[in-house]
Symmetry: C2
Subunit: 259 residues, 2 copies
């Protein structure tokens, strides 16, 4: 049964301020919670229906061995609704510790990473994390003004990929200025070279801009390789969604890596 | 000023049932409404703030010449909030006629089109329409079970591309069975050939499946070219978002067309 204090605590975790203060976040949805159980994340408690606990008994036993302090709280579907941040709550909600991610530049060498300049829409960040996971990109570096990764909508839309990708928040101009001599910075801009004709390096940073403003003026001079996702010659479309653009570029980087 | 009857009518258009009954839909957001004004769509009325009318005076004069019956209703931001389907309403909302789209198979020959098998998430359909517009794909054929294209969330997420792309709803098994001898049917599946190694035809249908179930069992045997978007060898990701997958495949078709 769900206590009033538990409900209040979980509801507070819907808000960034309380997540940062407490150091905890919530993960919801069958797939996301299952992936969380298999990850190295520190899970504090699971609120789920009897059906869900029965179905996931094996995974939970393993987790309980690793993490003896794990609390399991059986709740009804109606109780779940009161603590869920989703419009359609699922059968399980987990509370886990926000891991401390320390960016070590050495880990970025010899591989591709994503750099996000003010990505604001939670679903976009989630989809970007899923793309990174698919294409073997382990590190995502965000400007401090980007949407927070433990926002419940972001967590949900990563479909579990969040637990396999590292996400950092940094002062982006400072970071890029420091690293620019060590790694190429690839940016998609309207006056770039066609992605179908240009040759990509074997490692680098893929810089993606804000949903409506693109890459900020301050960062544009730091781009060392300007690329363009070609558009059909007669098309009147103005832009692609940032996650779709990232998917196309990341796929090209995998083509290069698999060669 | 907004009348009670007008407010009631627009609120009814938030629901599919009333859109289909009345034959009207709503378009919101500055960019979307601007693109609507420039399209061949039949706009019935525009509810907007004074600022918006002032800013768009030129476009409106042109539209009024083509469409003398156009009604312009100046509303306050608070009135707009009561009729908006968005969480953050914008400065303008337009009511327009749903055009009758008749699928003529002859129009699909010699080009690429998208075929959607039960795409359910409004934002995904919107993003798919935006991708089609960017890559010069004019026709999207949806299974009748797919999300309706005049859903306000779909309209919003197309960013105006909706007005340049034709979307049809058909009995998909019947349609594909009839057309399969005339056009290749390309489907992304887990046992397909790597997109980096296979060669795509110069025209065809790109079949995309449901967000969680993929391409349905009934349609799989109709796929004539099975392709796979390669995954990083050690990745544990299970899937890509349907719109991201579509973006990667559509980009490949443009590469072929531009050759």
């Amino acid at each position: 049964m769900l206590s009033k204090n538990q409900a209040k605590f979980i509801q507070s975790l819907h808000h960034k301020k309380f997540r940062l203060e407490s150091g905890y976040f919530i993960a919801e949805g069958e797939k996301v919670v299952e992936e969380l159980l298999e990850s190295s994340y520190n899970v504090e408690s699971i609120f789920a229906t009897k059906e869900w606990f029965d179905k996931n008994a094996a995974g939970l036993t393993k987790l309980q061995k690793r993490n003896t302090a794990l609390k399991r709280i059986e709740v009804t579907f109606d109780e779940l609704k009161t603590i869920s941040a989703l419009t359609t709550p699922n059968q399980a909600l987990a509370v886990a510790k926000i891991p401390v991610q320390v960016l070590d530049e050495a880990n970025l060498m010899g591989r591709f990473s994503l750099v996000l300049d003010e990505v604001k829409v939670p679903g976009n960040l989630g989809t970007l994390i899923r793309i990174a996971d698919w294409f073997g990109i382990q590190h995502i570096i965000c400007s401090s003004s980007s949407v927070e990764v433990y926002n419940p909508k972001v967590v949900q839309s990563t479909m579990g990929s969040l637990f396999r990708v590292q996400v950092y928040y940094v002062d982006l101009p400072e970071f890029l200025n420091k690293i620019k001599t060590k790694l190429p910075i690839i940016g998609a801009v309207l006056d770039g070279d066609s992605l179908y004709k240009t040759s990509l390096p074997k490692a680098g940073l893929i810089l993606l801009g804000n949903e409506s403003k693109g890459i900020s003026k301050e960062l544009l001079p730091l781009v060392s390789q300007k690329i363009l996702i070609p558009k059909f010659p007669e098309s009147h479309a103005e832009s692609l969604n940032v996650a779709v653009a990232a998917g196309i570029i990341c796929s090209e980087t995998l083509r290069v890596r698999l060669k």
